[in-house]
Symmetry: C2
Subunit: 159 residues, 2 copies
DNA sequence: TTGTTTTACTTGAAGCTTCAACTAAGACAA
DNA sequence: TTGTCTTAGTTGAAGCTTCAAGTAAAACAA
C-alpha cells in the first residue's frame, strides 16, 4: 500500500470551492423556486427537460439521464408532479416496459411563467460573477469533469 | 417588465455542466464512503473539518459555516455522529449559548482510515480529468462564484 | 419453444434535510 | 434593573432521496 498523494494548494482550493458551490447554489435556487412556485430545483429541471423535448414527452429512463437522477427518484417526483397536474404518464406504443412522461398544458404554463425568474437567479448567483472568458473556461473544464463522471452523459452528445 | 436575457451557448454549457457535476459528483463520493465506512460525504466533511481545527473542536455555528450547512442539518448529523461515538458535544466555557462539537479519538481514527480512499476518489472523479492549468482556473472561477453566493464564506478568508 | 437474463420501471421503508416553532442566554437600551 | 432584541442551538414533523425488493416485458440462448 502506497502513500496517498494529498491535495496541493490549487487542488484543495478547486475542490473546496466546488464542494461549497455544490451546497450553496442549489439551496439558493431552491429558495427562489420555492417562493415563486412551491417547487424544487429538481422539479423545475424535470419540467424544463420535458418542455425542451420534441413533443414534450420523454421515456422515464431518458428523463432520468437528462436530470442526472436515479429512476427511483424520478419515479417518486413524477408521481408528485402528476398529482399537481403538470405531468402525465403514458404507455409507450412499441415497448410495454417503457413509461413515457408527458408535460401537460398546465405544466407548460408553469415552466413558462417560472423560467424568467429562474434564469435571472442563475445569472445573479453565478454567471454575473464571471467574465465571458471565465464562462467559456468553466464550460470546458466542467464538461471534462462530467465526461469523467459519466462518459456518455447527454450534455456531451452534441460535441 | 423587460424580456429576460436567455443563456447563450457557453453560459448554457457552463450551467448544465455545473448542474450535472452537482448531482453526479456527491453521489459518486457518497457511494465510495458508504462502502468504505457507512457514512455520507457530508458526515465525512463534518469529521474532516473538526480534524483540521485547532484542538479538534469547533462551535456548532463555525462548523456549520465550514460545511456550508444549516445549523439544523448540522445538529441532526452531530446527534447521529455522537451516537456512533465519533463526536461529543461540550459546553462553551465563556458563552452558555454555544455548543462545542469535539472530535473523539475514535472519530479521529475513522477519518484517518478513510482519508486516503476519499482523496483517491476525488482525484479519480475530478482532478485527474484536468490539467494543472484547469485546476488553477477552476479554483479561481469557483472562488468567484462562492464569493457571489456568500461574500464572507470561510474558504475566502485567507485571501 | 422454453428457460434465463436483461431492461424499465415502481414501490415501501428507512434515513436525511428542511421548515417552523421553540428554548435559553447574551447584548443592548433607557 | 427591566424589558427588548439578537444570537445559538435544538426539536419534531413533513417532505425528499435512497435502498432493496419486486413486477413485468423484451431479448437472448439452447
Amino acid at each position: 500500500m502506497t502513500e496517498p498523494r494529498w491535495l496541493n494548494a490549487d487542488e484543495r482550493r478547486a475542490w473546496l470551492a466546488l464542494l461549497s458551490i455544490n451546497t450553496l447554489l442549489p439551496a439558493a435556487l431552491d429558495t427562489q423556486l420555492q417562493a415563486a412556485g412551491k417547487l424544487s430545483l429538481f422539479d423545475y429541471n424535470v419540467l424544463a427537460m420535458l418542455s425542451e423535448a420534441e413533443g414534450r414527452f420523454l421515456p422515464m429512463s431518458e428523463l432520468a439521464a437528462r436530470t442526472s437522477a436515479s429512476l427511483s427518484r424520478l419515479s417518486h417526483v413524477v408521481t408528485k408532479l402528476q398529482r399537481r397536474g403538470w405531468v402525465e404518464r403514458e404507455a409507450h406504443p412499441g415497448d410495454a416496459r417503457v413509461t413515457v412522461a408527458h408535460l401537460t398544458e398546465a405544466g407548460m404554463d408553469t415552466i413558462v411563467s417560472l423560467a424568467p425568474g429562474h434564469v435571472d437567479a442563475v445569472r445573479a448567483l453565478m454567471l454575473d460573477a464571471m467574465t465571458d472568458e471565465d464562462v467559456a473556461d468553466l464550460a470546458r473544464i466542467g464538461e471534462k469533469i462530467v465526461a469523467r463522471l459519466d462518459d456518455d452523459h447527454w450534455i456531451l452528445r452534441e460535441r
